[in-house]
Structures are given as structure tokens and as C-alpha cells.
């Protein structure tokens, strides 16, 4: 069980029998008064956000969720299929549930799938993924006018800015949390 003083960003709690994640958090305390905990919460099922203020006497159950290691298999329309590494059971998430992560999903990739009472609701990618550049404008030596970075497209269809020396067919590393280019990967 959590107390209000445990509230912080990214904490997952149950409210009205649904799982919520704290996306924004503010500690408020009027002069000598009781502490108040202002939270913006996202419903992990519907994605809807709401603001709630809790008091120091409020308590919560942790969100009834569990994470499982799974392998991404393939995409079929809007369904993204994964396989449980232990039970070999297959599940699917929708594009909406996957969100931004679809920019970095590569077949056979290991990721963590979040389940709410055995129902998949979200995924967490590894922090870094290596992807192949499929489309890149050629590197014009001495081109200083266009600035330091140029846009390229990687195998997942994601568009990212990279240094000018990156060429088509090369592998690059992307930070999935920021969506930014990190380095060229030499094989």
C-alpha cells in the first residue's frame, strides 16, 4: 500500500478499480497546514488524463499490473503481435496502445509488455535500439550551409536527424526515450 507521501512521477496506482500512472506531481503545503499532493494522472486503459489532489491521510493500492519479457513478432494491420518468452503464448496490442514505440519496433526485438489483469496495455522498449538507415540524402563534402544535421529515414519508417556523414545502409543507435540519434554502429 502507498501513502500520499509516496506519490511521485511515474508511480502506478489503482483508483476506482482502474490503473493510473502519475504523469505530473506537485507538493503543496499552505502555511503550517496539511500537505497536499496535486497529481495529473493518466488512466492506463483509456489514456485519459485527470487532475486530482490527495491529502496526507489518503492511501492507495499499487496498480494491479505486471511486466513480462516478450519478443516482438510482426505487425498485421493495426495489430502488433508479441510472444511471451516463457509461456510462448502470443498476444497483440493496437497501434494506439503502442504509441510512439512503434517507431522503434523491429522484428524479434525483446521488450517489456505491461499487463493489467492479464490484459496487455503498454510496452516498454529497451533504452537503445540499432536500426538501419533506408533513405538518406547523399553527403556533400564541404556542405556547411545546411547545418550539422540532416534528416534520414530508418527501417521502421521513422524520420530522424543525423550527422551528415551517415549514409544509406548504415546502422545507427537511437535513444527510444528521446527519439534522438546517438551514434553510428560499426559492425
Amino acid at each position: 500500500m502507498y501513502n500520499a507521501s509516496d506519490l511521485r512521477k511515474n508511480l502506478r496506482i489503482m483508483l476506482d478499480d482502474e490503473p493510473y500512472i502519475v504523469v505530473d506531481f506537485q507538493f503543496v503545503k499552505p502555511g503550517k497546514g496539511q500537505s497536499l499532493y496535486r497529481c495529473r494522472l493518466r488512466n492506463m486503459l483509456s489514456g485519459n488524463q485527470m487532475d486530482r489532489t490527495f491529502r496526507e491521510v489518503d492511501t492507495f493500492q499499487p496498480a494491479d499490473t505486471q511486466e513480462k519479457n516478450m519478443q516482438y513478432l510482426y505487425r498485421e494491420g493495426d495489430a502488433f503481435h508479441f510472444m511471451d518468452n516463457e509461456s510462448f503464448e502470443q498476444i497483440a496490442l493496437t497501434g494506439e496502445q503502442i504509441g510512439e514505440a512503434k517507431n522503434f519496433l523491429i522484428e524479434n526485438m525483446e521488450c517489456k509488455v505491461l499487463l493489467f489483469r492479464d490484459r496487455p496495455i503498454d510496452i516498454t522498449l529497451p533504452n537503445f535500439v540499432d536500426v538501419i538507415v533506408t533513405e538518406a540524402p547523399p553527403w556533400i563534402k564541404g556542405d556547411t550551409v545546411s547545418g550539422n544535421y540532416k534528416p534520414v529515414i530508418v527501417e521502421t519508417g521513422y524520420k530522424v536527424s543525423v550527422p551528415p556523414f551517415i549514409e544509406q545502409g548504415q546502422k545507427i543507435r537511437i535513444d527510444t526515450r528521446t527519439g534522438e540519434y546517438l551514434t553510428r554502429v560499426k559492425e
Binding site: 506537485q26 503543496v28 503550517k32 497536499l36 489532489t53 491529502r55
Partner: protein
């Protein structure tokens, strides 16, 4: 950002902080106040329902220096001020640090209303010393420190800004919630607000109003939505003080917090206390105001997470 760069980014705010401390001392010394230092580590903190003192061995780190300073008042020190470090467990946010700096001053022969003009003058003095003048900006809001500041009773503030009346908020135990979320953000803009006359239950160490016995003679300073200071006419009735402390301890117990030993020597000194008023001002918040800082972290060299 590296730790060094973070500190470097705070250089201006830290310079403002030093200037504010310097000007504050000059202000009080010019008014015949004696600067005092009382121990930070004390055997019995003030029993307050919503403040958690931090244990230090079998004693505690002071949540405020008021008990010792009031004993000095009782002993005949008529004008004293102190800048000291204070600790309050579990208080952490953009306006709270568990270790912070408090300015407290006490004056004999004065009540809470008598302190109000002194607060106005302190802020003007500091702002002049910083070369700012009376007009300034705080977090996008235009502030004008020119006197007189707005004087608003808690009752009026509820009427003007809150979705429910003071009476109803008290009945539903939502006083602090409404005050903090609906009223405070709108106070002190553009003229600072002196919010005064709190319901008696919200002024544990304040004197009961002689004309309105349901009220405590307490006030707070708000500038640009920022709460800066809490002052009151001192309660000089030892029996009533003991009863209020016991009540605070009961509230603490009902919320699963340990009750604290009674501050015996303070209670003994109360009958000798002259009619007086005292106030505690958050120095870090004052620096936030003059440095136009969004977070209290920006006005200290190190936040606890950075140690």
C-alpha cells in the same frame, strides 16, 4: 547538466541571496533589533499537527527557532531577530526544501497589526538595496511593492476567490485545500497581500482576537501567489497554550504520528512574555521572489538530491 554547470547557472541567484541577507541584517540592526543565535538541536519541538520535526539522536532538529526566541522575549529581550536553518521532514516540492532558511523576528509591545508595516518596509528596504525599485516581475507577473499593501481577511478571501464559503470549507474540513489551491495562487498580484484573521483552529500559537473570539490574530504575506511569511500576536496564556499543544498532539496521534514531549521550559516562560508579536519569513522564498526563480532549487547551492 553537470553539477558544476548547474551551480554556475545559479550564481546570480546565489549573489542575490547574499545581498538579501546582508540587507535584511542592515534593516533590523538599523531598527535596534538584536541579532541572536539559538540552538538548532532541541529536546522538544513545537507540537504541531502538520509539521514533522527531524530526529537528531534523542532530540530533534528545530522546525523553527520560535520556542527559544520566545523564551528570550520572556527574559526581557524586546527586539530580536534570527536567520537560522530549520528542518521539516517530508516537505519537498518546487517551494519546499526539507532543510531551509528562516528569518524570524519578535517585538515586544506590538501586535500582529503592528508588524504589518514593518514587513512592507523590510521588502522595500531589501528591494532598494538590490537596486530593483518597487516594480518587479515574478514568474511572468508584474509586482508592485509600493505601500500600502492589500489587507484582506481570510473570510473576504474565501468570498472573493473560493468556490465555497469559509464556513462551508471549515465544516467539510477543506479549509487548507481551498486556501492552497483556489485562493493562494491569486493573492499578492500585483500588490502584495497581507492575509489576516484566521479561524482560531489555524493559529496554534496565536492570540485569540479580543473582538472576534472565533479568530486568531495571525497573518501571512503573499506576493505573486507565493507565500512568504507567517506572523501573529503571541499567545501569552500558558494554560491555553498547553491545551492547544495537547490538541495538536492528539491530531498528530490520530494521523499515526508520534506525539512529542511538552516543551516545559517554554510553557513556564509564557506568563512572563510581554504583549508581543513575531513572524517567520522563508528566506529561500524571498530569494525566489527577487531572483524570479521558478523553483526553490534554483536559489540554494545544493538541493538534497544533489548531495
Amino acid at each position: 547538466m553537470s553539477a558544476d554547470r548547474k551551480l554556475e547557472a545559479r550564481r546570480r541567484a546565489l549573489e542575490t541571496r547574499a545581498d538579501i541577507l546582508h540587507a535584511t541584517r542592515a534593516f533590523f540592526l538599523s531598527r535596534d533589533y538584536l541579532e541572536v543565535e539559538t540552538p538548532c538541536r532541541i529536546p522538544a519541538p513545537l507540537p504541531e499537527s502538520h509539521i514533522d520535526a527531524v530526529p537528531s539522536g534523542t532530540w530533534w532538529l528545530q522546525p523553527s527557532p520560535e520556542l527559544c526566541m520566545k523564551r528570550m522575549l520572556a527574559a526581557g529581550f524586546r527586539r530580536i531577530f534570527q536567520v537560522s536553518k530549520c528542518w521539516r521532514g517530508g516537505e519537498r516540492g518546487t517551494r519546499h526544501l526539507p532543510e531551509f532558511t528562516l528569518l524570524e523576528w519578535y517585538r515586544a509591545g506590538c501586535d500582529y497589526r503592528g508588524l504589518m508595516p514593518e514587513c512592507e518596509e523590510l521588502f522595500q528596504y531589501v528591494s532598494e538595496a538590490l537596486g530593483i525599485g518597487s516594480r518587479m516581475r515574478f514568474q511572468g507577473r508584474a509586482i508592485d511593492l509600493a505601500t500600502p499593501w492589500e489587507r484582506l481577511t481570510v473570510d473576504q478571501a474565501f468570498e472573493r476567490y473560493a468556490s465555497v464559503s469559509l464556513k462551508r470549507a471549515l465544516k467539510e474540513d477543506r479549509f487548507e485545500e481551498i486556501l492552497a489551491l483556489e485562493i493562494e495562487p491569486r493573492l499578492g498580484d500585483p500588490t502584495p497581500t497581507l492575509l489576516h484573521d484566521y479561524p482560531l483552529a489555524f493559529g496554534s500559537l496565536a492570540r485569540r482576537s479580543r473582538t472576534h473570539p472565533e479568530l486568531a490574530e495571525r497573518f501571512e504575506i503573499y506576493i505573486g501567489g507565493l507565500e512568504l511569511a507567517n506572523g501573529f500576536s503571541e499567545l501569552t496564556d500558558a494554560e491555553e497554550q498547553r491545551r492547544r499543544f495537547e490538541r495538536e498532539n492528539e491530531i498528530r496521534a490520530s494521523r499515526g504520528r508520534p506525539s512529542w514531549p511538552m516543551p516545559g521550559k517554554f510553557l513556564e516562560a509564557i506568563p512572563r512574555m510581554p504583549e508581543s508579536a513575531g513572524i517567520a519569513l522563508g528566506v529561500d522564498r524571498m530569494v525566489m521572489l527577487f531572483a524570479d526563480a521558478a523553483s526553490i532549487d534554483d536559489v540554494v547551492a545544493f538541493a538534497p538530491e544533489e548531495l
